[in-house]
Amino acid sequence: MGYKTYLIKEIIIYVTVLIAAMSLLYILTYPVIQEVLKATVQTEAEGFKQAILKHASGHGNLNLTSINILVNKYKASLMAAYGLNQPLYLKYFIQMKNLLIFNFGNAYFLTAPNGSHKVYAIIAAYLPYTIILFTTGTIIVILVGTLLGLLSARYAGTVWDKLVPTIAVVHSSLPTWWLGFLLIAALAYAIKIFPPGGITSIPPPKSPLMYSINMLYHMALPLIAFFIVNVGGFAYVVRSLVISTTKEDFVMTAKARGLSDSRILYRHILRTASPSISTQVALAIAGSFAGGLTTEIVFNWHGVGWLTYEAILLNDLPVILGINFVLTVILLLALFINEMIKGYLDPRIKAGE
């Protein structure tokens, strides 16, 4: 079994996992989805009727009965497209197909900035802001966290070593949104250093350069909150991975060869531990998109987290379901890519063991 077989096997696993996860979501939300779809059909049919009436009033060659027949026909075709008149198993297959082609239906109330009611268009408009904020945050956390973890593992028994478990306690007990809330009260209202929220000032600056600077200024406070909460946890993971690698025989061998501590740490230990660290990185980035929901709300950062909250407040279920699907796909992709890289790096898989 070579890398290709491994790849195919993994693809099959991940695709089936995606379908299974979505089936689970579907079963748990089945009653609500039916309601959602019926409402969507109703609004679309209503829109169709209005359009015909508008058209007919110009020409005057259509009577009300024939319009109603047309609307009912249109409604029936929509019902068929969403599978509402189908038996349960067919409904399920149609819903799965719709999900897989990112057809989540129409939002009830929310619209994309360009005015579209399509759920995928709305999510596509908000997702980039989430990615910008949390990818930046995660990268900073990874860089500083890895550094702290390495320092802590290297200088065991010193202040560095004590520091990491202490800030790891903070990580496990501090909600980011609350820290954000507190930081806003302190640094945006009591002492006016940072803006209290939003992506840019209103109105946003015109030139691209000023726009990015303005956006960075608005990102500062959420990034600080994200950093404080997450850096300890990541450093702790790195520290544990490095310490457990230190116990391996090859480290002893390297020591016996008289290599310097830093050379052993960076060349031998870090290289061996890096696949595990990269798994953590992949999970951290993908997970932060979903986990940042409340942080976005507190900072009024208009990403998918904020969108989810708006959708809840407005009872806009198609949007909520669509977001869940997209986030699941992102997490699966991260895991899959990570698995691929690991498989590529692992000589045992290449050799077909």
Binding site: I13, T16, V17, L18, A20, A21, L24, L25, L28, T29, P31, V32, A156, D161, P165, A168, V169, S172, S173, L174, P175, W177, W178, L179, F181, L182, I184, A185, A186, A188, Y189, A190, P196, I243, F289, A290, G291, L293, T294, I297, V298, T308, Y309, I312, I320, L321, I323, N324, L327, T328, L331, L332, L335
Partner: protein, 452 residues
Amino acid sequence: MNKTVSAETGVKLYVNTIIKNKSGLIGVIMILFFVALSIYAVTNFSNVSHQWENSIYWETYPKNAMPYWMSYFNPNKIFATEAITTKPSIIYSSNTYDIYQLNYNFTWYKEMAPTDVVFYIKTNSPIESIQILWIKPDGTNITLSTTSPVSVSDLITYSSSIDSYITEQIGYVPPSTTSQTLSQALFGYEGKGLLNGTIEKGLYRISITIVTSPNTKILLNKVYLEGNAYGLFGTDSYGRPIDLGILLGFPNALEIGLLTSIISVIGGVIIGGISGFLGGKTDSAMNWVTLVILVLPALPFLVVLSYIMRPNLILEALLIAFLSWPFYAIIARSSAQSIKNETYVEADKVLGIPSYRTFFTHFLPRLTPFAIAYTALGVPGAIILVETLSFLGLTPAGLVTWGSILNSAESNLAAVNGWWWWILFPGVMIILVSIPFVMIGFAIEKAVFGGK
């Protein structure tokens, strides 16, 4: 070897491990203290939690008051509510109506007027009319009256009387009628400077005349001079004391945190342990199931489910556990895999001992310390998740949680208005409750896995 193993798995050893470790001992003491607080809250204040959303219940409390201990820094400007009471005297009685008079005297020497004045008169039948004569130390007076008399009234109830008094004195209609300005009018010097912030000091007299139907009794009467400081942690915009809310949040936080953590760790360890122990096709299948749950985005998924199901506390705990067991299953699986390669497992195989017995004698005892450590470490995560859901407004019905207190802080713009106590203390409680569990978890982890 076997002897040390059996000792290692004993409950006594865990207790010893935790207590010997300094941070573990602190953790245990903290948790015992929190449990005591929870029991105190459940036994004494369970009726209060039903009244939490009922704003009328909190009417006599000061609104947005800061913690009382702040008054040590500036006692003349930061002070608590004063309540005065008197003996009602009946001044007229007939078979059509009764007239009561209530006379109150109090002295005021503070630099600020009270934030509000609340009149509380509890009678056994409705009050028909109420008139209040407010006499300042220099003898000037105001008459307050209202068209719809109620048993609990504050200055806003009499705003039309006070507003016309202010207009009469300063010559124009006041820009805003908050209870603060109305109160200032009752405590300031008459004239143009009524609202400029100076306070008339000395003996104030209040004379309340009420008309009731015959044979009415006045059960309770009080006048509250509302302060701007209250209790240990202050009050919110509805007058609800934050310290009480925090106390009511303790049992919920502990209950849901422990319940969720125990269910998810036990589930995860059993599934992961069996999966790693059996290996082969069963392992692949169980691993696949684990992955399915793992990829569900926990927070948005929980939000959707809480929104649809509106769960009670137990169901919410089960939902969170359902989404968190895969993390423990993955770790338990890899532990089980490494145990599998030990010589004693192979010895069992050679000796023909059935595999289920090997599982119970060798695998489960070695997975137990792991399970206990992760149960402790999982509690804070579960608590934070529940508080997060409450912060989003998805609190199980009838419960007071710290997240829901913070939710109302956000919707009432506590950050903008500088009501820091409303934001700070509930959040600090989330941290304080989480910390001992993390410390105990780390202590067990260190003792069992050697730490470094």
